[in-house]
């Protein structure tokens, strides 16, 4: 179908989406047959993906709690996906009741779902946006309306950049996003990496390539520069389960996530 350049992106439920796959791996049912078909193939190749997803989601909760406790009152979550459990505004508002949160996602279904979920809640919004066009996000009227870029902001880029390929210029994207934040802001970032991946990389990659957002394969060393001159808080950029863990061993989960996702939180000097 030839869609004119100025037309907004359409919705194709026949095409798997990374957001709905993530939901499926977290045990959710916010997904369609096309998503589940790919998810099951992924599981056949890499059975511990659900554990990795859970570990990433658990880290998000720990990171947001830590940020809220550090006094951050505004959160910009890019690539928020299908809101399922333990959403940023829920976690943050346990600590900062009037925390402001803007969810941004490329997937219009994810955005619509978020909108329904947060309906009627002051200070929370969901907008459609593409991280590959950071200026559009930063100048989005809703983003500007809720987030005061003169006050510290927590920018959340959770398990997102593995869906931004090198040719889309992730370094430049991250630089633009970091530059928009005032001193004292934070970047919480996690990223799927291939360093210790024990499964069939190419298979996983080709399966994800069927989604609307093909994956990029990066190593842990390639993730570190996304923080720019932000100072990584303790313990630095580590396996997602090693970042300030609060639960005792689930060895399988730890082992799985150890080889799949790195995470870190950096503070803008």
């Amino acid at each position: 179908m030839n869609r004119p350049e100025w037309a907004p992106p359409g919705i194709d439920v026949e095409r798997p989406s990374a957001a709905r796959l993530y939901d499926y791996f977290l045990g959710g049912s916010h997904n369609f047959a096309a998503d589940r078909a790919v998810a099951q193939q992924l599981l056949a190749t890499a059975p511990d993906i659900p554990l990795i997803a859970q570990a990433n989601r658990a880290w998000l909760r720990r990171a947001v709690s830590m940020l809220a406790r550090s006094g951050i009152r505004q959160f910009l979550d890019i690539g928020s996906g299908i809101p399922t459990l333990g959403n940023v505004h829920e976690v943050a508002r346990e600590i900062v009741p009037d925390a402001r949160v803007v969810y941004v996602d490329l997937d219009p279904v994810a955005v619509a779902h978020s909108s329904v979920l947060i309906r009627g809640q002051e200070g929370v919004a969901a907008v459609q946006g593409d991280v590959r066009k950071p200026a559009d996000i930063l100048h989005h009227p809703t983003v500007r309306g809720l987030i005061d870029f003169n006050q510290p902001v927590a920018l959340l880029v959770i398990a997102l950049l593995q869906f931004v390929r090198d040719e889309d210029g992730p370094d430049d994207i991250m630089r633009q996003l970091r530059d928009a934040l005032p001193s004292g802001s934070y970047l919480a970032l996690s990223h799927g990496v291939v360093d210790g991946w024990r499964h069939d990389k190419e298979m996983v990659k080709s399966l994800y390539n069927r989604t609307t957002t093909p994956t990029a394969t990066r190593t842990r060393a390639e993730v570190a520069p996304f923080f720019g001159d932000f100072e990584l808080v303790d313990p630095g950029l580590v396996w997602v389960t090693q970042w300030r863990p609060d639960q005792p061993s689930n060895m399988d989960g730890i082992k799985a996530a150890k080889s799949a996702v790195v995470a870190g939180v950096g503070r803008k000097p």
Binding site: G27, S29, N31, R61, P108, A110, V116
Partner: protein
């Protein structure tokens, strides 16, 4: 987090905590629970306490465990694996805490877990269905939003494409579509168009610039829009300073006249903008036609033509389309297009009219007069095409061709007779303006053909531009310097600045035929004697044009006029006839 106290006296908290910890460990990783681990254990301890209460109830009723199963799912301990691990842990850990015989407590625990499983499965099913519903709702919502956004962007795009930014009115594309649809639909019998031109706009723009011009145009458009709305007729900005109003099935012509007058009347009040009070004016061309067989292009062409007529009539005028006039103008346009081709194909030829000396009635010269043998229209007189040739600039090329022909003809006659006539050729102002090219053409021709320069006369029409244009003056002087005669044609009919006459290198005044035509034998007021005298005072010969009777000829002779031209002495005729005439004359002369 509410932790229900363990039933006192039965089980102590330590047992419960131990069960909860084992339970938490068993289900870890089976589903994502958005809680810190310590909270998970507390939550599971609460469930453990409630389950024990059900297990030890008297009489034993396992049904409350169903609700606990539902709540487990609601607390996000929700996956098939979680249920499996839960049953495994509880079947193992609960019987020793039941406080009854192990055998009967084993059975109780089984019934308890079966009730729990029912509730859990129910909860999981509900949750799945809810989530499927919510994602479908989100999809529908997103689709609606996307479609809405698409429509909005399409609408904005479409609107921008068919509307004029300055006035917000539909633009020409929109209007043409509207007109085409109307013609195509065939739901109307007649359509009329008021084609409006803001005649004052150019002057405003020239004087105050485009910004103010645009503002004046926008205000004008607003006034038109208000009128169009009140009349209920669509209005569009057609181009630049042109607007168009479409009237479907107009009641009659007087209604259209009323509309045109109202359009003009909207501009009666000057436009006030930026401290300037700008008087505005408009012209309106009105066309009305039946829809059947209508060609939109033709309609718009007619409208544009009618607007031009209205403009030509003066400011604040409107005109109704006139088919006969249009036909004439179209024919004229077609003829103009044929003209260049006609020159290429040598469709133009000359006829010659004798110029006669009154004294002895001798033919001393001939005037070459151009004719067009049009392939379709037949023979055309210069009145039909000279204007067109002048407008299109073809006059220069045509003039040169005719000059060539005339000179060759003059040379021929010079060979035939001892006293050959000079040939007088009309020259247009444009030819005189065309740098020194006329001078070169004449010079070359004379040399090439070997024609004595005094056998060529050029007739120039009395014109305002000649005396003031130094280049033309120089050209005339140079041509006269070659020995070529010059005559001032149609003298007395146009611009008369007598002062310049004495400085022009002219040999002859050709007195316009109207003076001869107006002369009556009884008349005492004729200007003819004065004109003849004027010529003589300037040492020029006087030639009267349009002499048709002997009476006129005699009178002219009596007042001293030197030469005449007219039907009485000979119509314009083919060169061969002139040749015969000349031969006749020369033989008569020989006879004398």
């Amino acid at each position: 987090m509410i932790v229900e106290p363990a039933p006192r006296g039965l089980i102590d908290g330590q047992h419960i905590t131990r069960v909860a910890r084992a339970w938490a460990r068993a289900i870890a990783g089976a589903s994502y629970v958005p809680m810190a681990h310590v909270d998970i254990e507390l939550r599971l301890a609460g469930f453990t306490t409630r389950l024990l209460r059900v297990l030890t109830s008297q009489p034993f009723d396992p049904s409350p465990a169903t609700q606990i199963g539902v709540e487990l799912v609601e607390a996000h301990f929700a996956s098939p694996e979680t249920l499996g691990h839960t049953i495994g842990v509880l079947a193992d850990r609960l019987p020793p805490l039941a406080g009854t015989s192990l055998d009967s407590s084993g059975r109780r625990v089984m019934r308890l877990l079966s009730a729990l499983s029912v509730g859990y499965s129910r909860g999981l099913r509900e949750r799945t269905l809810d989530e499927q519903e919510s994602i479908r709702l989100a999809t529908v919502l997103a689709q609606a939003q996307t479609e809405h956004a698409l429509r909005e962007s399409q609408e904005a795009f479409r609107h921008a494409a068919v509307h004029d930014q300055l006035t917000g009115l539909p633009n020409r594309i929109f209007f043409e579509k509207q007109l085409a649809d109307l013609i195509g639909a065939g739901s109307r019998e007649r359509i009329a168009i008021c084609f409006v031109g803001i005649t004052s706009l150019q002057a405003i723009t020239d004087r105050f610039g485009h910004i103010l011009g645009d503002r004046a145009l926008a205000v004008t458009a607003d006034r038109f829009r208000t009128l169009a709305r009140s009349l209920g007729h669509p209005l569009a900005r057609f181009a630049g300073d042109q607007f168009v109003m479409l009237i479907e099935d107009p009641p009659d012509t007087s209604y259209l006249a009323g509309v045109a007058e109202q359009i003009i009347a909207t501009l009666a009040t000057p436009v006030h903008t930026d401290r300037h009070l700008l008087p505005m004016s408009a012209s309106v061309g009105v066309v009305e036609r039946p829809v059947a067989g209508m060609d939109a292009n033709d309609l718009m062409r007619a409208a544009a033509m009618t607007l031009q007529w209205a403009k030509a009539d003066g400011t604040d005028r409107w005109r109704l389309f006139d088919q006969a006039r249009s036909d004439r103008e179209i024919a004229r346009h077609a003829l103009a297009a044929d003209l260049a081709l006609g020159i290429d194909r040598d469709e133009f030829f000359l006829e010659y009219q004798p110029l006669v000396r009154l004294e002895d009635r001798a033919v001393i010269g001939v005037e070459a007069l151009v004719r067009w043998q049009h392939p379709r229209l037949g023979r055309l007189s210069p009145g039909r095409f000279i204007d067109l040739a002048e407008e299109s600039g073809q006059i220069v090329r045509l003039g040169r061709r005719m000059l060539d022909k005339a000179c060759r003809q003059a040379r021929e006659w010079a060979r035939l007779t001892d006293s050959p006539p000079y040939v007088s050729v009309n020259v247009a102002v444009q030819q005189l303006r065309d740098g020194g090219s006329l001078l070169r053409t004449v010079d070359n021709l004379l040399q090439e053909i070997g024609l004595a320069s005094e056998l060529l006369q050029l007739e120039i029409t009395e014109s305002a531009s000649i005396p003031d244009d130094p280049q033309i003056r120089r050209t005339l002087d140079d041509i006269a310097g070659l020995g070529v005669r010059l005559a001032l044609d149609d003298f007395g009919s146009g611009y008369s600045n007598l002062g310049y006459l004495q400085n022009l290198p002219v040999n002859q005044l050709k007195i316009d035929m109207q003076f001869v035509r107006d002369w009556k034998p009884s008349s005492t007021k004729s200007l003819l004697p004065s004109l003849v005298e004027l010529a003589h005072n300037l040492r020029l010969s006087a030639l009267a044009e349009g002499v048709e009777t002997l009476e006129q000829a005699d009178y002219l002779e009596s007042i001293g006029c030197d030469h005449v031209q007219g039907y009485y002495f000979g119509r314009p005729q083919a060169p061969s006839e002139i040749t015969s005439l000349l031969l006749e004359w020369s033989s008569e002369e020989d006879d004398l």
